[in-house]
């Protein structure tokens, strides 16, 4: 089902014109056999989903109707949206997968933050079949909003969300992107954001669930003084794949971005991190930092880390760092010499590793949940190890 909203985009672009995705494509590298499944997304039979059926949108335990307004947030079903949210004039990278997402969109909504709200607005995704929901988010000038996109309760069916974000001047948006669903499904999302002058986008990314949990973020810092920050955690067990790709484009002046993602990999799980910081010509006074840290807990776990920099401007401060390794011996020694058993030491150190991210006050809403998941996943690993 082609949606009217994307008609213009799809007039000039068709997935048939794009090459099939292969493991040679930089953006899909390391995904192995999963790539085949992604080349031709199969949508569930009951794909004519109405937004209200597929998405259980709730905030503070109330259920809201689509096309309603609450807490200064207006929600409109995409069938009724007339204008695209983002500036189509800005060149944005597309591949076969992206375009197919737009071609096969199964439903969705646009969400407009009109007034300041302190509370998180939660969107709980539920799906019984493969689905491609569209989530458009815009924040009005000088306003700020918080959003909790919850992919925690998907049991059947893969989900391939398109997320588009547009931040007007001096606006603020904080998003929690949480993927903790059971390990039987795939979640592959494409997120694209445009940030105008002095706006600020923060994304907290939790990725502990799904067989394949992939998120690709393209962030265009268009306006001077715009800021982007991303902090994320992932924890892999069994054969889980956690794939995070972040492409930040510094186009305006005085922009900044800050990224930190940390992950623990056990069993045969694997993680992929690709981050590119691109600083365009003339984007003076840019500051950008990127960090990716991995702990491998098992012989069969793997981690790929590719933090890239592309800098076309001289007046910048830029750094990136990444590491992969086991827990350091001397740290073990320190903890165990204080009478703590190896198993407990492991648990403690893993907690400490993640705490740098999740102890931040901004994580308050999900801190306990994430903390509990980390504990449980660690116990699972130990349980399997001991047979």
């Amino acid at each position: 089902m082609k949606n009217k909203l994307f008609e213009k985009k799809l007039k000039s672009l068709s997935s048939k014109d794009f090459k099939n995705i292969t493991a040679k494509d930089e953006d899909w590298k390391y995904l192995g056999k999963k790539i085949f499944e992604l080349n031709d997304i199969e949508i569930g039979k009951s794909s004519d989903i109405e937004a209200s059926k597929t998405f259980d949108i709730d905030s503070n335990c109330f259920t809201y109707e689509i096309n309603s307004e609450h807490d200064h947030i207006a929600i409109v079903n995409i069938d009724e949206v007339k204008k695209p949210l983002i500036k189509e004039s800005i060149k944005r990278p597309f591949d076969k997968f992206n375009i197919e997402q737009f071609e096969k969109v199964t439903g969705g909504f646009q969400l407009n933050v009109k007034g300041d709200s302190e509370q998180y607005f939660s969107v709980n995704f539920q799906s019984a079949d493969n689905a491609i929901p569209y989530i458009g988010i815009s924040v009005d000038k000088n306003k700020s909003g918080k959003l909790y996109l919850n992919f925690d309760q998907l049991v059947n069916g893969n989900i391939y969300p398109i997320i588009e974000i547009f931040l007007n001047d001096n606006s603020n948006l904080e998003i929690i992107l949480s993927v903790t669903s059971p390990k039987g499904i795939n979640i592959v999302n494409s997120l694209y954001a445009q940030l105008e002058k002095d706006s600020n986008l923060t994304i907290h990314n939790i990725s502990t669930g799904a067989a394949l949990s992939r998120s690709r973020m393209d962030i265009d810092l268009l306006g001077n003084g715009s800021e982007f920050s991303l902090d994320g955690v992932y924890f892999g067990e069994e054969t889980q794949i956690h794939d995070n790709r972040v492409f930040v484009n510094h186009l305006g002046k005085n922009t900044s971005s800050n990224m930190i993602t940390k992950g623990v990999l056990g069993d045969q799980s694997s993680s992929i991190f690709t981050g590119t910081i691109h600083i365009a010509e003339g984007a003076e006074k840019t500051e950008s930092h990127q960090e990716n840290r991995n702990i491998l807990l098992s012989e069969e776990a793997t981690a790929q880390s590719v933090p890239n920099l592309e800098i076309l401007c001289d007046d910048v401060i830029c750094s990136h760092g990444s590491s992969v390794g086991p827990i350091e011996e001397n740290v073990y020694h320190y903890v165990m010499s204080r009478g703590i058993k190896k198993v407990d030491a492991d648990k403690l150190l893993i907690k400490g590793f993640f705490n740098e991210v999740i102890n931040d006050s901004k994580w308050a809403k999900v801190h306990d949940k994430v903390s509990e998941i980390i504990d449980r996943k660690y116990m699972n690993l130990i349980g399997r190890k001991n047979g």
Binding site: L296, T302, S305, V306, P307, N308, E310, S319, G325
Partner: protein, 469 residues
Amino acid sequence: MANVDIDLGKYSLGWSDPEKNVFKPEKGLNEEIIRKMSEIKEEPEWMLDFRLKAYKRFLDKPMPEWVAKEKLSQLDFDDIYYYIKPTEDQADSWDEVPEEIKQTYEKLGIPEAERTYLAGVTAQYESEVVYHKNREDLEKLGVLFCDMDTAVREYPELVKEYFGTVIPPGDNKFAALNSAVWSGGSFIYVPKGVHVEDPLQAYFRINAENMGQFERTLILVDEGASVHYIEGCSAPVYTTDALHSAVVEIVVKASGTCRYTTIQNWSNDVYNLVTKRAQAYGNATMEWIDANLGSGLTVKYPSVYLMEPGAHGEVLSVAFANSGQHQDTGAKMVHLAPDTTSLITSKSVSKGGGRGAYRGLVRVEDGSETAKSFVRCDALILDDESRSDTYPYMEIEEASAVIGHEATVSKVGEDQLFYLMSRGLSESEATSMIVAGFVEEFTKTLPMEYAMEFNQLIELNMIEAGAVG
């Protein structure tokens, strides 16, 4: 393998190329040219086979798309002489050498005799004396050091055993091309336990072939032996060749040490597409020290395959990308055994619209227990038109491996400039001093005369108007 007889007499002949005029050169490449080339060189059958197979691989392989796509697409393989350049293509006299190249020689204070050689005007055979003396010393130690063509004739067993094993012809398009049409390059064999004290230098072996387009170098360092080899020279090499595509293979046996230093300063219209790879066995050490100042496009990622426990690999890479240049350099470390360690240090400077890139890979295979690797990339951008990229790949399949990567990109610090300028230096002097300090880690690995020349060259590169090289 160490008991190869050395026939010194042949060496003195090895340098010239008396058959040169027999072959009428033509542009482009086909099987016929390769057969002819092999025949003139009096190569054994296996080498001809090797060349022909490689040629097929070259035709089959697509042009790489992940690097400098635009520049590479302008490369016309049919417009290149693959064997023996016609004399009219070389500068016939000193007068034809471009003015800026001459000025550079002047500024560097290079002796007159060397200048003409560097400019490609004449092959300077006088220097053979220097080389010959060097060789006598080596002969006493049992070290074999000659050009590759000679080695194929003189030491067929050794060459056949290793040639094309570290870098198979199918490795990449340009390695395939080199395998098909290689000519010249160096062959070195260092016997067990022998330490070659002074660096071996290709610099003195002044023969057109050694500076060739498709040179092929093979270095074998036997158990417990050590050698330091220096290739290239810091003064700009003027050439009319469009493409330089070398292959360098190195095998370092258990407890051996090899250091390979390159200073590349081709003129700005050259495509420098080089494949360099070494295998390091138990407790061996392999170091690539690689500086790139010249060429229009350099694509080069020296790599070390750490084959057995305890092997250590190091790459120290310095790139200076000036106006019109794209330096796509880096390193690859592949850990295949436990307790292997590697270190990559990369420094790049971009200026005047140049593009410097670090592209690297650290791969740790499953079972390489407690492998350790650290990558450090620093980049300086000196103006708003230039570009600096960092693409570090890390593929880790071993839980006990410890891998780290850190990178920074910045411009020259205002405070550093202020400090130096308040002490009476001009801004450009201060900047070049800071840049020289930035790459000092590299400079201090060089023999003194190279280091001095290298520093002068950095200074020249920093002067706005008179950009050279």
